[in-house]
Amino acid sequence: MGTDKNHLFDNAKNVKRFLYLFYGSCGVLFILDFVVHRHIILSWENLWGFYPIYGFVGCIVLVQAAKWARTYLMHPENYYASEGKGCEIMAEFEDPPGVEEKSVEEKHCTKPGDHNVDD
């Protein structure tokens, strides 16, 4: 398995090289905007750096919106696992207190090995 063989991105230099290559490509693409003559349908498309800026800003907005949404939407993993619990009406149908409840982890989480019923 090559337990601790040095892999491509283990070397910080390689990560940097990759990133510089990426920044370089972005720069070239941006410059090409002024070189390539576009066939356009919408006047927006002719705006200076329309596609690059739209892609960049769009994604920042997306991530910030998602982060903001997370403050309302995020809940513990076992949020739904307690379905039906705390219900007074159902109390008499529930297990007697002596019966030990399995933890949520045990009940719902797939452990390595038991995820695959196939073989």
Binding site: L29, V36, R38, G58, A66, M74
Partner: protein, 566 residues
């Protein structure tokens, strides 16, 4: 030529039967050969009505072939072939049988020439696919499967009611253009919409798909929603409402996908996003737009299958699929990593990959028809899909921080299936003419125009730049062990809680009312007894029963005595 009259679902149903009674190598060989034989058969089938009969006063057409249905049938065969290879190692008869039934039902639905046949296969799809979820055999999969089944069956029932109204309104059950005029049209639209994962009706998908088995999800991703897309394309082309629904579908799931931890659920959200593009195409309804929808469905089934297969491989080998638990897998799963990146590039519509040549038709159609804001929304969705499916999936699974997990690439059959899918993604991207030749309309569209290639590459590279920038600044939302509430909260939490509270109040009131009634009855009886007391004095109810017996005995004795005296 009796062979032609055999509808394509038949070989797959026979396959299900074979899968049920065979096992081992024989089963594998037979299962792989069924989509091949069926595809060869299909390639000889001309466009026409091949099977029809009268039922009551209506003409039923269980097998009708045209370009639109053929296109979906071709890709269903490809998807079935790839998915079967991917699941060859599975030793679970339940899954094999369910998968064959499910594929057959999908094929039955796209060749249905009337609404009743469509309804039958619509329900078959639901009942066969749910076993692919239940086959995971966890409590969570069981519950998710149950919710999935209820929603799917509900969609089928609405379709049936709609079909009956349609027959009443139009005197025919033939499945052609329906439109939104009339109650029947609206009902059928809702039924299609549920299966198509319209906003607010989409949670069955994000709930159930990630809970299915590793191989089951690959099958699931191919058929249900695409049958719905096909049905919408046949029944509602040019319905403007679909443009707005589709744009919403393309946009809102990407928000959830960005913060979702379960990587197969991220893919489920991005599936809705991609179906959104198809729905917009149907809504625009021009030849170019419908071509765009159909070709996007074709390309999508393959690259989405590839992505689900790569994440399935991770789950299969590492036993976990949460982004927070994974990372650094490229070190020991290099092949899976490369194949996943091909899928990611395809869904992101990079030039030379399949998504590029299909999605652009829908975008071009939106522009040509003056839907500028929709086009802008779809452009945002394109950048967004690259962000979560194109970067997030490979990055958090295979790169990011080293999770320390060292598992090898999956078994050869899984790898081989992924290689076929990846090869098709690249083939379609490089040589789109092969795909375009199969499309329903001739439009002469060319995706490889310098402006278009540059625009798309710029959009994607700068979307990636945003990811890199946010990541380096440490503001990118980290993968956390948590879930995000979606609309299903309403039926999983809010409505049950509300009902619980309502019933609690009702039952309390009911209890109080009954107690009041009982105590009133008691008081009334005591009152009667008191009156009785006043009238009957010694025989009254307030005396013990013994005294009454005594008095009876005394009376009898007296009676006896008197009779002797006589």
């Amino acid at each position: 030529m009796w062979m032609i009259e055999i509808p394509p679902f038949v070989p797959f149903f026979i396959g299900a039967l074979i899968a049920a009674v065979t096992h081992g190598l024989l089963r594998n060989v037979l299962m792989v050969s069924i989509p091949i034989i069926s595809a060869l058969h299909l390639s000889m089938v001309p466009e026409a009505v091949h099977l029809q009969f009268a039922f009551l006063d209506y003409q039923l057409i269980p097998y009708q072939v045209d370009k639109l249905s053929l296109m979906f049938a071709y890709v269903f065969h490809i998807a079935a072939f790839i998915s079967i290879i991917y699941s060859l190692h599975v030793r679970d008869t339940l899954q094999q049988v369910a998968a064959m039934m499910y594929t057959g039902s999908g094929l039955g639905a796209v060749f249905a020439g009337d609404l009743l046949t469509l309804f039958v296969f619509w329900e078959f799809l639901a009942f066969s696919s749910v076993f692919l979820i239940w086959a995971r055999r966890t409590q969570r999969a069981y519950a998710a499967g149950m919710r999935y089944l209820i929603i799917q069956v509900l969609s089928g029932i609405i379709l049936l009611v709609g079909a009956l109204f349609y027959a009443l309104e139009n005197g025919t059950l033939a499945f052609s253009y329906i439109g939104l005029d009339g109650l029947a049209g609206c009902l059928i639209f809702v039924a299609f919409g549920i299966k198509c994962a319209f906003p607010l009706a989409h949670n069955w998908l994000t709930d159930a798909y990630p809970e299915a088995t590793v191989t089951g999800t690959v099958f699931l991703s191919a058929f249900s929603t695409k049958v719905a897309v096909y049905a919408l394309a046949r029944g509602y082309p040019g319905t403007e409402l679909l443009i707005y629904i589709g744009a919403a579908m393309a946009c809102f799931p990407i928000l959830f996908a960005v913060i979702e931890n379960d990587l197969r659920r991220v893919l489920a959200y991005s599936l809705i996003n991609q179906v959104g593009f198809m729905v917009v195409g149907i809504g625009i309804g021009t030849a170019l737009a419908i071509n765009g929808t159909v070709s996007h469905a074709f390309a999508h089934i393959i690259y989405k299958g590839l992505l689900f297969m790569s994440m399935g491989a991770v789950l299969h080998m590492a036993g976990r699929i949460n982004g927070s638990d994974l990372g650094g897998l490229y070190k020991t799963m290099p092949k899976t990593t490369a194949l996943c990146i091909v899928g990611a590039a395809s869904i992101s519509a990079f030039p030379l990959f399949s998504g590029f040549v299909s999605k652009s038709m829908v975008m071009a159609a939106a522009l040509e028809n003056g839907f500028n804001w929709i086009w802008l929304t779809l452009l945002f969705a394109s950048a967004g899909v690259f962000h979560h499916a194109g970067i997030k999936i490979p990055y958090f699974a295979f790169f990011a921080h080293d999770s320390g997990i060292r598992v090898s690439d999956p078994p050869n059959n899984m790898l081989f299936a992924m290689v076929i899918a990846a090869a098709l993604c690249i083939f379609i991207g490089v040589y789109p003419t092969a795909l375009y030749a199969l499309l329903p309309y001739e439009t002469g569209y060319n995706p490889y125009d310098a402006s278009h290639v540059l625009a798309q590459t710029q959009l994607l590279f700068f979307a990636a730049l945003a990811f890199v920038w946010l990541n380096l600044r440490g503001v990118y939302p980290p993968e956390l062990r948590a879930i995000n509430l979606d609309f299903d909260w309403f039926y999983r939490r809010f409505v049950p809680n509300l009902l619980q509270k309502i019933f609690l109040i009702i039952w309390k009131k009911d209890k109080a009312l009954r107690q009041y009634f009982l105590s009133t009855m008691d008081r009334f009886l005591i009152f009667l007894a008191k009156i009785n007391d006043g009238i009957s004095i010694m025989l009254s109810r307030t005396y013990p029963a013994g005294s009454m017996a005594l008095w009876v005995a005394v009376i009898l004795a007296l009676y006896l005595l008197l009779s002797f005296i006589n």
